[in-house]
């Protein structure tokens, strides 16, 4: 197999804070906790960190947005850590966008050691939307949302992108392929919970260490049919951090690194009320990312030993599997049956639980697992013979994907 010689970045450190259901500990404190852990994991000194990068967007806020409470910026962390970076970037979107920015900054020589962090706030009050509507009839935006103008065309219908954005394409999938029942989806959701319980840092392992039964899943409270509460990740408060440097510098560090073999960004879809809700639009965005990813990494789906595919909603993982060619289109629901995607299976998926099995860490779990698996550092969760792993973060324009490898390119 030939691989790219374009990339020179490597992941060399990971840290994660304690995870809570709500704001028990200030988010800024948790982000410092995760960052110091990542720096220690890499075997570096704090003073060696010369790049800071994050996606500061809160997934939600309620009219208030305080640095260190609802979100955490590079400015906050620069001051909290008392360091003097030469490159700082607050990149909108999801962890996908800041991860790819970190890789590019390191490869361009903008910094030697980038600290990438992501902090997730959960207000814990049950109010959890980035669009809040007042009954006065005005649509009030309390957080940044590039699609604000689009809300005039859908808010009056009670159409909410997060859950409906999963339910509507799932309904199209069922009609298109005659596949995709909840009975079939159970295999993915139950396995994800099991995987999450094996990761000591996950929300479920910490607080509710119980597996899901098929009855639990099939009798779950419905949110937006066919999406039930267990097809959604549980909102949590916590932070994760990664250290990225060059492969050359990684060679001087004590622990094995995860090497970047390929990357691809999501790009905006056409302006449409259906961006989040239409199967074909989601698939085409994901296929486009997949095509560019495999070209950049100079490998293909057959070379991949395991996949960490974003699962804020269960159907997202299905769509990533098919878009990346890890199975045929319309075949994912058959593919996931019978243990194929278990850590011991042919194509393990989200072996540390992803969002569904770990909590809504917005891709931190996926990137962590991909990194540690190729570095051979996953301990009891280690999958055998992991040379290459694919990681897909987010969905749509705020998505990005990576191929990580055990060896430098």
């Amino acid at each position: 197999m030939t691989t790219s010689n374009r990339h020179s970045a490597a992941f060399v450190g990971f840290g994660e804070s304690r995870v809570f259901r709500g704001p028990d500990v200030p988010l800024g404190e948790l982000t410092v906790e995760a960052s110091l852990e990542a720096i220690k994991d890499a075997g570096l000194e704090l003073s060696q960190i010369d790049g800071l990068v994050c996606t500061p967007d809160a997934p939600f806020s309620r009219g208030r947005s305080a640095d260190g409470i609802e979100f955490v910026s590079t400015s906050f962390m620069k001051n909290a850590l008392g360091i003097h970076p030469r490159w700082c970037a607050d990149v909108p979107g999801t962890i996908a966008n800041s991860t790819l920015a970190a890789i590019r900054a390191v490869e361009a020589g903008e910094c030697n050691y980038a600290l990438l962090f992501r902090a997730l706030h959960n207000p814990g009050s049950g109010k959890y939307g980035h669009t809040e509507e007042k009954n006065s009839g005005e649509i009030e935006m309390s957080g940044p949302d590039a699609n604000f103008a689009i809300e005039q065309f859908r808010a009056s219908y009670g159409l909410y992108p997060p859950a409906d954005g999963a339910a509507l394409p799932w309904s199209q999938y069922q009609a298109k392929y005659g596949s995709g029942s909840r009975e079939q989806m159970a295999a993915l959701v139950i396995q994800s919970r099991k995987n999450g319980l094996a990761y000591e840092g996950s929300y479920w392992a910490r607080y509710k260490p119980i597996e899901l039964s098929i009855d639990d899943y099939l009798n779950a409270r419905m949110v937006s049919r066919p999406v039930s509460i267990f097809d959604c990740d549980i909102p949590v408060q916590g932070a994760g951090a990664f250290i990225i440097t060059t492969a050359e510098r990684a060679a001087d560090l004590a622990k094995p690194a995860a090497y970047v073999h390929g990357i691809a960004d999501g790009v905006p879809a056409r302006r449409s009320i259906t961006v989040d809700e239409a199967l074909e639009e989601q698939m085409e965005q994901n296929r486009d990312i997949g095509r560019r990813l495999w070209a950049d990494a100079r490998c293909g789906p057959a070379d991949i030993r395991l996949a960490n595919l974003y699962d804020g909603f269960s159907i997202m993982t299905i769509l990533w599997m098919e878009a990346f060619g890890l199975c045929g289109e319309g075949e994912a629901f058959d593919f996931i049956q019978g243990g194929t995607i278990a850590p011991s299976g042919r194509l393990p998926i989200n072996p540390s639980g992803g969002n569904l099995g770990g909590g809504r860490m917005h891709g931190i779990n996926h990137l962590m697992d991909g990194m540690l698996q190729v570095a051979g550092r996953s301990g009891a969760r280690q999958v055998n013979n992991v040379d290459l792993a694919v990681v897909a973060l987010g969905m749509g324009w705020a998505a990005g994907a990576l191929v990580l490898g055990k060896s430098p390119v």
Partner: protein, 146 residues
């Protein structure tokens, strides 16, 4: 009608669309350059970048494109009060990809099927404020959203 859905807030680009809805006419933009129809309205044609866009009336006929039933999790008090309610998309007959949201008034979840024929109707969601809805052809029609 004290409790009602959020009302649409028109902007400079969408005003002709919402004015049309208040007149019970379903208008979308047609590009003078490539004749493509476009919804939601935008500053330029998404296919050829022409800014010569005129609003033209649609037949209002189409088919179910996707559907769901919101059972729990609605955030707005009005939608919480009517849960469970239907939500989804319809595709107009005039052009592939011309998609509108709908609550399928007068239908039940078990009635819905992707591809089923729908027709526009105009629903008053607050005093004098209309929005387009699409009901299954042959369905009873309803002022409610269930």
């Amino acid at each position: 009608m004290s409790l009602h859905p959020p009302l649409p807030v028109a902007d400079e680009i969408s005003k002709p669309y919402w004015d049309g809805i208040q007149d019970r006419r379903l208008l979308v933009q047609r590009c003078a350059g490539c004749e493509r129809l476009q919804f939601p309205p935008d500053a330029a044609c998404g296919a050829c970048a022409s800014t010569e866009l005129a609003f033209v009336e649609m037949s209002g006929e189409g088919a179910v494109f996707s559907f769901s039933q919101t059972v729990s999790g609605a955030r707005h008090p009005y939608f919480q009060s009517i849960s469970p309610y239907l939500v989804g998309m319809v595709e107009l007959d005039e052009q592939k990809g011309l998609i509108f949201p709908s609550n399928f008034p007068g239908s039940e979840y078990s009635d819905l099927e992707i591809g089923a024929a729908v027709k526009v109707e105009f629903q008053e969601i607050a005093n004098g404020v209309l929005i387009p809805q699409f009901g299954l052809v042959g369905a009873a029609g309803s002022k409610g959203l269930k």
